[in-house]
């Protein structure tokens, strides 16, 4: 009934009524026997399966690396797929390696080679999108790729040198031309091959959205919010799918059968980031990458958090609203959003309502959503300079780890006569309770007090009244309690009136964001 249509190596592919939860990786390896992309974990954590998806954005092709192991095949509809096999074939001669590949060979960047195709594709996305590659952008781009052999140094060297390779005459510029070359030749504009790709993708738009039905299992991909609202009213037990960075694991790890999937990324309205008079409005289909890009323009102080939020491929697929709706107690965006006083715009049928994000969560994995109701957008207030905001994440590893504790603080200190008094403060934590939660009792102790060493210590002790965290493999209760308090102290040291400390005096990773 439905057809998934996409391009692979410039060739048009049409897959009729696939199993909606068949992953892109299964499709590549098992159906096409295109086995360059590997499975290392089937949960989006190792990157061996990384592929690049080309999407039509503002009349250009946007290249983004994603994890094929947790991406469902129907979500490719309307896009271009690039796999490790795509790179060499785009060369002039059949044995010509792409600069990304050649630099890895020259720098001795592969040993066992199993992670290599994934690295190649993450590097390819970097090659195509970043005109000035440095160590920081390399770490960012490759944060979702595990290598157990090399120790990464030669891979970093390869990334630093890959744009120095010449683009061979006659090769396909869609694949061979780097962002750096494009910047240098900016007068040339969009190359022919990209223009062709843009036109190809334009033709793939389904006018009425896509519906797939296999053995009574449905996959809907509407292309308007109204359509979505109607479908979700009709199928209230269906699952709304966006990036699939969590739902993918329900299939690959929990082996669940998902009967009704409602995919929202084809809805233009939900892909928008809008500057309204009061808010930055981020639609439900906006990826974490784009949402963080927009938010860090106004809130650069959140960049360190955004860097540590999962990995590049997960941020490229996953959405900010997905993180909110999922409501995991260890979701990293919510403490900061709560401190920013963000709201969520909910939609049910023709009805809309706005509620405070902090009121969205009721209890562990419970929220206020009614049957058939979904989050249409998150509304983040524009920056108000009287507030100082910080968000700190703690985990065993810097890249792509789940928080032991994620803390966010926002403080408004009085100026003038009541200089130094806490006019208002918001403190929110992830990892400390069943939901992302404010430290209300601690806030009450601080409000209207002078922001000084004495009061901060009082507040640090009070945190144990707000939270009784769990012990698990990420951290013990004791560590969570102790560091929650210590992070409040770090925040104090950074924002105290006298002699505030800089982040590089307080954070070992400072300079990384």
């Amino acid at each position: 009934m439905g057809c998934v249509r996409f391009f692979l190596d410039g060739e048009f592919f049409e897959v009729e009524n696939p199993d909606p939860t068949r992953t892109v990786l299964q499709y590549l390896r098992e159906d096409l026997h295109r086995v360059g992309s590997k499975e290392g974990c089937a949960e989006g954590d190792c990157g061996a399966c990384t592929v690049v998806v080309g999407t039509l954005v503002d009349d250009r092709i946007q290249f983004r690396a994603i994890n094929a192991c947790i991406q469902f095949l129907p979500t490719l509809d309307g896009n271009m797929l690039f796999t490790v096999e795509s790179l060499k074939t785009a060369g002039l001669k059949s044995n010509q390696l792409h600069p990304v590949q050649q630099s890895l060979v020259d720098c001795h960047g592969s040993q066992c080679g199993f992670c290599t195709p994934g690295f190649v594709m993450s590097m390819f996305a970097l090659y195509k999108t970043n005109p000035c590659i440095d160590r920081l952008s390399i770490d960012d781009a490759l944060s979702g790729n595990l290598c157990r052999c090399t120790g990464y140094r030669p891979i970093i060297d390869a990334c630093l040198s890959m744009t120095n390779y010449p683009t061979p005459e006659g090769s396909n510029p869609l694949i061979f031309e780097s962002a750096r070359h494009q910047k240098i030749n900016s007068n040339c504009g969009i190359n022919d091959q990209e223009q062709l790709a843009v036109e190809q993708l334009r033709k793939l738009k389904h006018s009425d959205g896509l519906t797939i039905k296999v053995d009574q299992r449905l996959y809907h991909a509407p292309n308007s919010v109204n359509q979505l609202a109607q479908i979700y009213t009709d199928y209230p037990h269906g699952h709304i799918l966006a990036g699939g960075t969590d739902i993918g694991l329900w299939v690959t790890k929990q082996l669940r059968q998902l009967d009704d999937l409602i995919y929202i990324k084809h809805i233009d309205e939900l892909n928008q980031i809008e500057q309204t008079p009061l808010f930055i409005k981020i639609g439900a289909a906006v990826t974490l990458t784009d949402a963080f890009g927009a938010l860090s323009k106004q809130y650069p102080e959140l960049r360190p958090l955004f860097r540590r939020f999962s990995s590049a491929p997960v941020r490229n697929a996953g959405t900010l609203v997905g993180n909110i709706a999922n409501g995991s107690p260890i979701g990293d965006s919510m403490p900061a959003l709560i401190c920013m006083d963000a709201k969520v715009l909910l939609r049910q049928g023709h009805q809309s309502r706005e509620i405070e994000l902090q009121d969205f969560y009721i209890d562990y994995q419970q929220n206020v959503l009614q049957a058939g109701e979904f989050i249409e957008a998150v509304l983040v207030p524009h920056k108000d300079r009287v507030w100082q905001l910080r968000s700190y994440k703690l985990s065993k590893r810097f890249d792509q780890d789940i928080s032991a504790v994620c803390a966010s603080f926002s403080i408004h200190l009085e100026k003038g006569e009541e200089h130094g008094k806490i006019a208002n403060i918001r403190i929110a934590f992830g990892g400390m309770a069943g939901i992302p939660k404010r430290a209300k009792q601690t806030e009450a102790i601080l409000k209207d007090q002078l922001w000084n060493e004495g009061i901060v210590h009082k507040a640090m002790s009070a945190l144990s009244q707000d939270f009784t965290p769990l012990s698990d493999m990420r951290a013990s209760q004791n560590y969570r309690q102790q560091t929650a308090a210590n992070l409040l102290y770090r925040f104090y040291l950074e924002t105290r009136q006298n002699d505030p400390m800089t982040c590089d005096q307080l954070d070992v990773f400072a300079g990384q964001g």
Partner: protein, 779 residues
């Protein structure tokens, strides 16, 4: 400021194929996705797939096992249990205590109980969940402390003693006692365990298996099926990483896949989901230590007595040799005159721990390094000074506790060189000043040495064979007993053959390890891959060269002994002939153009009872300096800079050796910092996927990372006078751990020894910070 990551490769590039940084022979295939791993092979028609049903109990008798719903599930072709195994239900590499499928008794959470064979991998996995298993729970032993209480061991304890530490302890200047531990480590090869078995005529089995030990797979499959060794062929082109985890523990999967293939008479693939892989297979052994040491005012170790306990898991597997190596590496680079080491192998109801790069050596050496670090702080001295005064001498104090004389000691000059090149002393002062000025963040630095013994502790394992074929177009195929897991073994062996025959490297191709080509091979392990197989290939190539030299001398004139081979040409009597033309001549003269080579390491002997002998052919040396910064509010830390100087002898391929050194360093750093294995109170591993088990990622690679090869030649007649380089670098990141410890100690003005446990997770670091603040230290 972004500093480019740098590398230094000191060895001069040479024009011959050895000594040169050739790319990995498969690099062009790795990067293009064309390198095939077992799961990438085209499947035979009708291939079936297996998923395993695992025990949910740490220790229990199986009351009932109802698999009817599993059998009825969609796509299921067969369900196998222990009773379906025609031969011996055991795959233990040394002792028969490793059932392939549990029979009545389960001994850890994750132990395979049954195998589902289905038309697809997903169908098999889904069907597994329909099993109804009733357990009669038995008391489980879950950790080292309980095992010690219960005296629960997999093998008898070992003891190594020299001098009389008990008596010496009576007259030492200072005495210190203490206990500490080091955690285990998951291998986390990126390619999970996999076996693909296909039946062939006359009851034979052909097996493609991701394994470091094809010969052992051949043996266990034959035992399991009740067939002869000559009925099983195992092929292994490359692994997506092994690190020891595919030495013995690929066996269980090879056996199950083969049983299914034989029973169903079709090809069967057993590929593990990552979580199942981590739940089933063993890891690096965690160790606990209890010691007493006596030392002088200068920090010279006068007597030392240590008890070490390794967590073996539910079966012996390779624990015996692992613990032997731990005992033989407790000395690391230090002369211990009065020493007693007692080592136990705890039987616990957890995964059966196995080989992992270093094979007990890192754990043993970690113990002495911790003790030396403690002595230094007790005396208020720099740990480097204590290390230096305890180093083995060159011509005296040069006998190990196990009776081997060290005649290749370069640790003094190596440490001297890196102390200078890393600016250790200057940076130490800068760090002291930094710590004086900083309230929250603290820095630390440490220089740690490595001495690592090379050879299998089991003497007869130190043998290898190779086949070299020269074809009539002048191209060469080499096959040997080693397996390629990324370490560059095939590249080095090809370089050796190319050099022997004076041809370009491009003329030589290395092929898959295949038990039907070279027989009775040893595991590719103990860092010996190139030492053994490189020599065997060299011998084979030399045999051919000698034959060709006779042909060349006959054709060109001159003495066959003076014929030279280089640049794809052969020279004699001031004339030359191309290699290709000479090969053609030789063929027409009916000269055999292929040969075998066999090598065994000379002069090794070892008595496991007395723990005396010469277990190692030689030693590899190295040292590293690492500087870290630690957050005393959260325990987070970052590696700022590492300098490494490592002895690979006369390197055959400097780039590959540097790759092993840096890769081993980062992997070892993971072991000692972020890689934490956790089990819940019921014995269930809770860190069984990369979402919860954290190996180092790219940001963990320091901005400043300087690795250099130490200018050296092996004094033994090893292949090209090189040294093995696989395992020794895993010990280099001790420098990271002790730098963290030093940063923590600075919180209380270095007065206390931080009770920092390994792995040093942020939580472990914060606990240690808290402890030294409160004046609590190690015992």
């Amino acid at each position: 400021m972004q500093k480019p990551v740098q590398k230094k490769v000191k060895n001069k590039e040479k024009s011959v194929p050895t000594g040169k940084s050739h790319a990995h022979e498969s690099a062009h295939l790795h990067v293009s996705g064309e390198a095939t791993y077992v799961d990438d092979l085209a499947e035979q028609a009708g291939t079936k797939h297996i998923a395993l049903g695992l025990s949910q109990c740490a220790c229990a008798r199986i009351k009932s096992l109802d698999l009817s719903a599993v059998k009825a599930a969609k796509g299921v072709v067969a369900v196998l249990t222990a009773s379906d195994i025609p031969g011996i239900n055991d795959c233990g590499p040394i002792i028969n205590d490793d059932p392939i499928l549990a029979d009545g008794l389960v001994q850890y959470v994750g132990q395979p109980l049954f195998a589902v064979v289905a038309t697809s991998f997903m169908a098999a996995r889904k069907a597994v969940r329909h099993a109804l298993v009733e357990y009669d729970e038995l008391p489980a032993v879950l950790d080292i402390a309980s095992a010690k209480r219960e005296q629960s061991w997999v093998i008898p304890p070992m003891q190594l003693q020299r001098g009389n530490p008990a008596k010496a302890m009576e007259s030492v200047t200072h005495k210190m006692r203490g206990e500490f531990s080091v955690g285990g480590q998951e291998q986390f090869y990126l390619e999970g365990q996999i076996s693909y078995a296909a039946p062939s005529e006359d009851g034979c089995i052909r097996l493609w298996c991701s394994t470091q030990h094809p010969t052992e797979m051949q043996h266990v499959v034959a035992h399991t099926l009740g067939i002869n060794f000559n009925q099983v062929v195992v092929e292994m082109r490359r692994m997506g990483g092994g690190f020891g985890g595919k030495e013995s523990q690929s066996a269980i999967f090879a056996c199950i896949a083969s049983v299914a293939a034989q029973k169903l008479n079709c090809a069967v693939k057993l590929r593990l989901d990552r979580d199942d892989d981590m739940m089933i297979t063993g890891k690096r052994h965690g160790f606990s230590f209890d010691y007493e040491v006596g030392y002088s005012d200068e920090g010279f170790i006068q007597a030392i007595d240590i008890e070490m306990i390794a967590q073996a898991g539910f079966s012996a597997d390779l624990t015996g040799p692992v613990v032997t190596r731990a005992v033989c590496h407790f000395d690391n680079a230090y002369y211990l005159n009065n020493v007693k080491i007692v080592a136990f192998s705890a039987k616990t109801n957890t995964q059966s721990n196995t080989a992992f790069r270093g094979f007990g050596g890192p754990q043993g050496a970690f113990a002495i390094e911790t003790i030396i670090d403690n002595i230094a702080r007790k005396l208020g001295k720099d740990p480097l000074d204590i290390r230096k005064i305890n180093f083995y001498g060159k011509n005296e104090k040069n006998t190990t506790p196990y009776g081997q004389t060290i005649n290749d000691n370069v640790i003094h000059e190596l440490v001297e060189q890196i102390e200078q090149s890393s600016d250790y002393q200057k940076r130490k002062i800068a760090i002291k000043n930094f710590n004086h000025d900083n309230l929250i963040l603290r820095k630390g630095i440490a220089l740690t040495p490595v001495k690592f013994g090379i050879s299998f502790n089991v003497v007869h394992f130190n043998q290898a064979g190779a086949l070299v074929h020269v074809y009539t177009d002048g191209t060469i195929l080499v096959n040997h007993g080693g397996t390629e897991m990324g370490q560059g073994l095939h590249t080095k062996v090809s370089q050796i053959v190319a050099r022997e025959l004076g041809v370009s490297l491009s003329a030589v191709r290395a092929t898959a390890n295949d038990t039907s080509k070279v027989a009775n091979t040893s595991a590719t392990a103990a860092s010996t891959g190139t030492d053994l197989n490189g020599k065997a290939a060299q011998i084979a190539a030399r045999t051919i060269r000698h034959r060709l030299a006779v042909v060349a001398a006959t054709s060109l004139g001159g003495d066959p002994n003076n014929v030279t081979f280089e640049n794809d040409h052969v020279f004699s009597n001031n004339k030359d002939i191309s290699f290709i033309a000479l090969v053609d001549l030789a063929y027409r003269a009916s000269v055999q153009l292929w040969a075998d080579g066999f090598y065994k390491t000379p002069d090794l002997h070892w008595n496991q009872q007395t723990m005396q002998g010469r277990p190692f052919y030689y030693f590899a040396y190295g040292a590293a300096v690492s500087e870290v910064i630690v957050d005393t509010l959260t325990g987070e830390w970052k590696l700022l800079r590492t300098d490494i100087l490592h002895d690979a002898g006369n390197s055959i391929n400097p780039a590959i050796d540097i790759g092993q050194i840096e890769g081993g360093f980062i992997q070892g750093m993971g072991w000692l910092t972020s890689e934490e294995l956790c089990w819940d109170p019921k014995g269930r591993l809770t860190t069984h996927a990369p979402s919860t088990y954290k190996i180092p990622t790219i940001t963990d690679c320091p901005d400043a990372f300087y690795s250099e090869l130490f200018d050296n030649q092996n004094i033994e007649d090893t292949i090209m006078r090189s040294k093995a380089v696989g395992e020794p670098p895993l010990l280099l990141p001790f420098s990271v751990f002790f730098a963290i410890r030093s940063a923590i100690a600075s919180v209380a003005k270095n007065r206390f020894n931080p009770p920092l446990r390994a792995p040093a997770t942020p939580e472990a670091i914060l606990d240690a910070v808290q402890a030294v603040r409160e004046g609590r230290e190690v015992l």
